[in-house]
Amino acid sequence: MADGGSSGLRITITTLLALIFAIAPLPDVMNQAKPPLLLLLVIYWSLSAPRIAGLMFAWMCGFAIDVVKGPLFGQHAVAYLLIAYLTHKFQLRMRIFPIYHQTLTVFMLLALYEFVVFWIDGIIGPAVTGWMRWVPVITGTLLWPLLVAVLDTWNRARR
């Protein structure tokens, strides 16, 4: 694993950027449609570098989101963990899916994530039930092929 270190560096950089993106204020409408970039990265790195980006990594990412946004510690952490678990479980299959198939899978993962967060919201208090809540699932899905293209190019160049 000669390039393990550089891969770890890439993971750190992209994670930090995604975290900054998560708290960056955008205009109001865009704010609600902001794709869950960090979650997409967790899925990507779980597929691309499963030994570095394990379940613990996903949990830490979710916990970071809890710290900066969440009303409750552990809410996003457990949702991230579940998504990472499913990704790891099906990684051998997901990695060889054609891109449209993979995007569809990511769509389902994002919808599941949003549902878990929504569910926990509903347990701890009155949850927001607007349809706008599900827009990040769509934007995140649309972002996936782009993200894969960019990061794959970067990974290949740095291999």
Partner: protein, 333 residues
């Protein structure tokens, strides 16, 4: 297709199995959630972690601050001059008003001393700036740049120039989180300024709308009535403007009227807010435990109070509002 970037070694057979790791971490996070939500054991940890992630907030601020600096340094002289003149004018009128207000305050205090009323005016304020970070689009919470270093505490009332903005929910060393009155987990005890009818204004999640669910159809409210804080929660001092009634719908077959109000504070536009310290000796003890927060701490009353809580709010309007122990402070001009 995602390329396998770093490691091509088999991933099976190292460490505990995937399912076991998932199980342990899931148990850990559920324990964390319970500890945070039920027990509230995480306050200190949260404040430390919030302080630790502050560099991220600073990084996010940079583009906006740069833009502000840029427009500030390139705005032309004549505009600055007109702005200056306008501000001077406003300051002059405000000073005149303040003179009158000072006299009134003094008189009020004397009268209160005579009546031996406990409601006081001894207050200290501090201006805090809203940090432009996106906390969560579905929760009306904002971060400010003043924390426990400046003496900010949990449950502190926050105002702007037009009315009540919200209250502090979390504090760390250099920042704090405010819940706005429009958040759907927040409820503000209010009274109609015109006749003293008391009720609770519940946030709706819409920044321009509050809901008053506990007003009966006979209660005397009408559009454009001013709602001021009633001070019954022991958090917001009495007499600060909160909202104006926008809609009253009376369905004869229903018990409660549909009453909506619009917050007066500029919840979506304010850059600076005012933190308020109410002198504890002059603040009355919270009279009714019914309106004390349970554990969504941000709410000054549970968003959907149990029947026992609802009854005072619904029955009291019919009783005489000028009960002798009821402090009715005029709102500040």
């Amino acid at each position: 297709m995602v390329t396998l970037s770093s490691d091509s070694r088999p991933i099976i057979g190292h460490g505990p199995a995937l399912g076991a790791r998932f199980f342990f971490l899931a148990i850990a996070s559920i324990a964390l959630m319970v500890a945070d939500h039920r027990g509230g054991y995480m306050e200190v940890t949260r404040s430390w972690l919030q302080t630790a992630v502050n560099p991220l907030y600073v990084v996010v601020q940079v583009p906006g601050q740069f833009w502000g600096w840029l427009t500030g340094s390139f705005s032309d002289r004549s505009r600055l001059r007109t702005e200056n003149a306008q501000l001077n004018d406003e300051l002059r009128t405000a000073r005149v008003k303040l003179l009158r207000f000072d006299a009134l305050t003094e008189e009020n205090r004397r009268l209160r001393a005579i009546r031996n009323a406990s409601q006081g005016m001894g207050e200290r304020t501090l201006i805090a700036e809203i940090v432009r970070v996106d906390v969560d689009p579905y929760r009306h919470r904002v971060r400010i740049n003043k924390g426990s270093q400046d003496g900010v505490f949990k449950g502190q009332p926050v105002l702007d120039a037009f009315g009540i903005v919200g209250q502090v929910t979390r504090v760390d060393e250099i920042g704090a989180e405010i819940i706005l009155i429009s958040d759907n987990e927040h409820a503000t005890p209010v009274q109609v300024n015109r006749n003293g009818i008391r009720s609770i204004a519940v946030g709706t999640g819409d920044i321009h709308r509050l809901n008053l669910p506990f007003l009966t159809i006979e209660s005397d409210v009408k559009p454009d009535d001013l709602l001021v804080s009633s001070g019954l929660d022991g958090i917001f001092p009495a007499g600060y403007p909160v909202a104006t009634i926008t809609k009253v719908e009376r369905d004869p077959s229903a018990t409660f009227a549909v009453v909506e109000a619009r917050p007066l504070a500029q919840l979506d536009r304010a850059r600076e807010v005012l933190l308020l310290w109410v002198d504890p000796s002059t603040q009355p003890a919270p009279p009714a435990p019914a309106v004390k927060p349970a554990r969504p701490a941000p709410s000054t009353a549970p968003a959907s109070p149990p029947p026992t809580t609802a009854s005072p709010a619904t029955t009291e309007p019919t009783s005489a509002p000028e009960a002798s122990d009821e402090p009715t402070t005029p709102p500040p001009p």
